[in-house]
């Protein structure tokens, strides 16, 4: 692999990461829409190419880092795309530990999802289209990850949004799916608007500054805060922070692999990635950091409570995702983008695992309902069930699973840098997380009920290997990656190897166990469908999704529509009236004048001649001959 370290090899690697997905998308959408197997083959070939390139890039990076003191400086490889007098727009790649790490997350999950989809989407008539969208999505995400500046990020950011729209609405004939796609698009658009304004302000102030220069921009404090908060708006939309999180649970209408890919491991973490990318900007502003922290905590808490009361397995994991994203954001707000990224890293694997597991259950049971899956023999699907348990353990944050380590890092950061109130809140969220994840596990663990819909008494068959294979790989990753905690900080920022902070880890673990016990007490035995928490009157609030949907509905129906009606009335009767009045007047005058146009050429000529002769008379009177 020595040649890979040369410039030519490097450019091959970079292009090998960036282009295959787009090529696959183009080929499929143009030529292979009817030939599904070829489409799948092309897409997976592209995906594996990218994965291989990514791994080689990682190997190269590690090789370079080994001979280097501290962290490797970021390297950018750009082409001038558009040059004006005031700004040069660069297009290209950025290579630093952050982007390489993110590439690994994205490409591994993408590859596994594509493999998994062979089984999950088996027999679906739109598979070719599905794979085309998946390729485009992964490509966009890759492009976003390697963007060296905010403008390119924005382009791929929007492409990612478009792909999520396409994939959520993949089963467009289902009204819910179409509505969910629309909702996702509109909701993220609110945030994207903020990001766009921030981008424009940045472009105006500093040109198309590269991410590597963010630390030395020297913006005025107010402007920095402003731009940071606007960028954070985009993060709120894309990473589904409170209060724009409502699109994500609805987005579960898409095919489950899409949920795993888009809404667990890659797209939603784009926001978090962007936060880390523009960390220097945020770090310059106390206010921005506080805002980020509070949004993260509120999101984590709200989403966790809602996850406790869901019956739909995918919705549980969806709210869990929102909650975990809140963790990442609050970690960033607490000043540790390292912890944030680490949590992103671990979460990607176990959440993908949980989603794919959920997909496996759904594929088997034909229903999203937890209790229904249990009745159809969910625990008989051994691989799926036990990998789900591993994922749940990681989610709950029990050692030695990966979630434990990343949450530990976050809790440490919060404890050290923030007011204790935040720390207590985050701890409580950890308790809730354990509760809802094991609520799912215990429900699924229930015995299968004999019923007319079930053919065999001894539990269901497990899913085929193309589905369970990725599950096992992800479970392995979930178990293992936590061990990297010590080296992660060093990898990312050159910090010294850290160690576990027992003063944080022990209470956290205790709370997690408490949550598991509570869940077991509520759902471990008996056929009850309501746990202890469910009986609290206050749980009505999360059950109604904090009335947010109602609020949005009210806003759109009453305020927006009312205002629209008012505008429409004004428009129709005053603006249109004025315009139409002018138009009618003109038309009336025209119709009067057009009576002159009799179609009688002789009359025209008559008038013409008369005027000419009068003019001629004027000439006669005035001109000296």
């Amino acid at each position: 692999m020595a040649e890979l370290y040369g410039p030519l090899g490097l450019s091959c690697l970079l292009h090998g990461i960036f282009f295959p997905y787009f090529i696959a998308f183009g080929v499929i959408i143009l030529f292979l829409r009817r030939w599904e197997k070829a489409a799948m083959a092309v897409s997976i070939l592209a995906s594996s190419t990218v994965l291989a390139s990514t791994l080689m890039l990682f190997a190269r990076h590690q090789g370079l880092a080994a001979g280097h003191e501290g962290v490797l400086p970021a390297a950018t490889y750009t082409l001038s795309w558009l040059s004006t007098d005031s700004a040069a727009f660069q297009f290209g790649y950025i290579l630093d530990p952050l982007s390489v790490l993110m590439l690994i997350v994205v490409e591994v999950v993408s590859f596994l999802v594509q493999v998994y989809s062979i089984g999950y989407m088996h027999g679906d008539p739109g598979r070719a289209r599905f794979y085309a969208y998946l390729s485009l999505f992964s490509g966009s995400m890759t492009g976003l990850v390697v963007s060296p500046n905010l403008l390119q990020t924005y382009i791929f950011w929007e492409l990612v949004g478009l792909c999520s729209y396409l994939l959520i609405g993949f089963w467009w004939h289902k009204p819910e799916a179409a509505a969910a796609a629309k909702k996702a698009f509109v909701m993220t658009r609110f945030g994207d608007l903020g990001l766009f304004i921030g981008l424009l302000m940045l472009l105006h102030a500093k040109g198309n500054a590269a991410f590597t220069d963010f630390g030395t921009l020297g913006l005025p404090a107010g402007l920095a805060t402003c731009i940071s908060l606007l960028i954070f708006c985009g993060v709120i939309g894309k990473s589904s922070q409170f209060p724009l999180h409502v699109w994500l649970p609805d987005a579960m209408e898409g095919p489950t692999p899409v949920s795993a890919l888009i809404h667990a491991a890659t797209m939603v973490v784009a926001g978090v990635y962007l936060l880390s990318r523009s960390a220097p900007l945020f770090l310059a502003s106390e206010t921005a950091m506080l805002v980020v922290l509070s949004f993260g905590v509120v999101t984590a808490f709200v989403a966790a409570t809602m996850a406790c009361v869901q019956r739909d397995i995918k919705k549980v994991w969806a709210y869990s995702t929102v909650s975990q994203l809140g963790y990442m954001v609050l970690a960033f707000g607490a000043g540790s983008s390292q912890a944030s990224m680490f949590h992103l890293f671990t979460h990607a694997f176990y959440k993908a695992l949980l989603f794919l597991g959920a997909g496996s259950f759904i594929h088997h049971a034909g229903s999203n309902d937890l209790f229904e899956i249990a009745r159809k023999g969910g625990r008989g699907m051994r691989i799926t069930f036990w990998t789900t348990v591993i994922g749940a353990l990681a989610l709950a944050g029990l050692p030695p699973f990966s979630g434990f380590f990343s949450k530990d890092a976050i809790l440490v950061a919060v404890k050290e840098n923030c007011h204790p109130l935040w720390y207590i809140s985050v701890m409580f969220v950890g308790f809730l997380t354990a509760y809802y994840s094991f609520r799912v596990v215990f429900i699924l663990f229930r015995k299968q009920e004999a019923g007319p819909g079930v053919a065999h008494g001894h539990g269901g068959h497990d899913s085929p290997l193309v589905m369970t294979g990725p599950l096992m790989v992800l479970a392995l990753a979930t178990i293992c990656v936590g061990a990297w905690e010590g080296g992660f900080g060093h990898y990312l920022s050159g910090a010294p190897h850290g160690a576990l902070h027992w003063d944080v880890a022990i209470p956290a673990t205790f709370l997690a166990l408490l949550g598991i016990v509570l869940a077991g007490a509520s759902f471990g035995s008996g056929g009850r469908e309501e746990g202890v928490l469910d009986r609290l009157p206050v749980m009505e609030i999360p059950r109604r999704k904090y009335y947010l949907d109602d609020f949005y509905y009210w806003v759109t129906q009453k305020i927006v529509l009312g205002f629209s009606f008012l505008c429409a009335y004004v428009d129709r009767h005053f603006v249109d009236g004025a315009v139409n009045g002018v138009a009618d007047t003109v038309r009336w005058m025209g119709s009067q004048w057009s009576k002159m146009q009799t179609g009688q050429v002789q009359q025209y000529l008559n008038v013409l001649i008369l005027i000419f002769s009068i003019l001629g008379f004027g000439v006669y009177l005035t001109v000296k001959f």
């Binding site: 002789q602 009359q603 008559n606 008038v607 001649i609 008369l610 000419f612 002769s613 009068i614 001629g616 008379f617 000439v619 006669y620 001959f625």
Partner: protein, 169 residues
């Protein structure tokens, strides 16, 4: 009053009288005859103006070509067209007013302008000179005219075909 003057007045009278007769004739066929008279008067004026070739051309083209064409046109547009429908009084007044104004203005301008005095008379045989001019100084216009005639030939043939096929190409 010289014989030339007499001839001039007679020919002018023929020309203008023929024109006015067209205006007031009710039957179109007679109008064509009046047109003939008028054109003959013009040809005579050409002779007075030492333009014999043009006079012969006038007779050949206008009388031998255009008036006959008009007769054909008359015959092909049906017997109901031989008599003009009555024109409206308003139209007559409007046409009269603007034409009269035009005439007055033109005559006034002709009167007021100081025209160059006629100096040299034209040489006897102008035909050869006209031919030479046509093929030297004005050869471009000559060629344009020939192209025009070709286009007209083809175009009218197309029209005839249209007419034969009932107006559909």
């Amino acid at each position: 009053m010289s014989a030339e003057k007499v001839a001039f007045f007679i020919l002018s009278g023929l020309t203008l009288g023929g024109g006015l007769a067209i205006l007031f004739s009710v039957r179109l066929m007679r109008a064509v005859v009046y047109l003939l008279v008028s054109l003959f008067g013009v040809a005579g004026l050409y002779i007075l103006l030492n333009a014999e070739f043009l006079a012969a051309l006038q007779v050949l083209i206008y009388i031998g070509g255009i008036t006959i064409l008009m007769v054909f046109g008359l015959m092909l547009t049906g017997p109901g067209q031989f008599v003009n429908p009555a024109e409206s009084r308003l139209k007559a007044v409007a046409a009269g007013v603007s034409s009269l104004t035009t005439a007055i203005v033109l005559l006034l301008i002709v009167k007021k302008t100081k025209w160059p005095a006629g100096t040299q008379a034209l040489a006897g045989d102008t035909t050869a000179e006209i031919g030479r001019l046509l093929l030297t100084d004005h050869v471009f216009a000559f060629e344009i005219a020939s192209v025009l005639l070709l286009v007209v030939l083809v175009g009218v043939a197309l029209f005839v075909r249209l007419a034969r096929d009932g107006g559909k190409p």
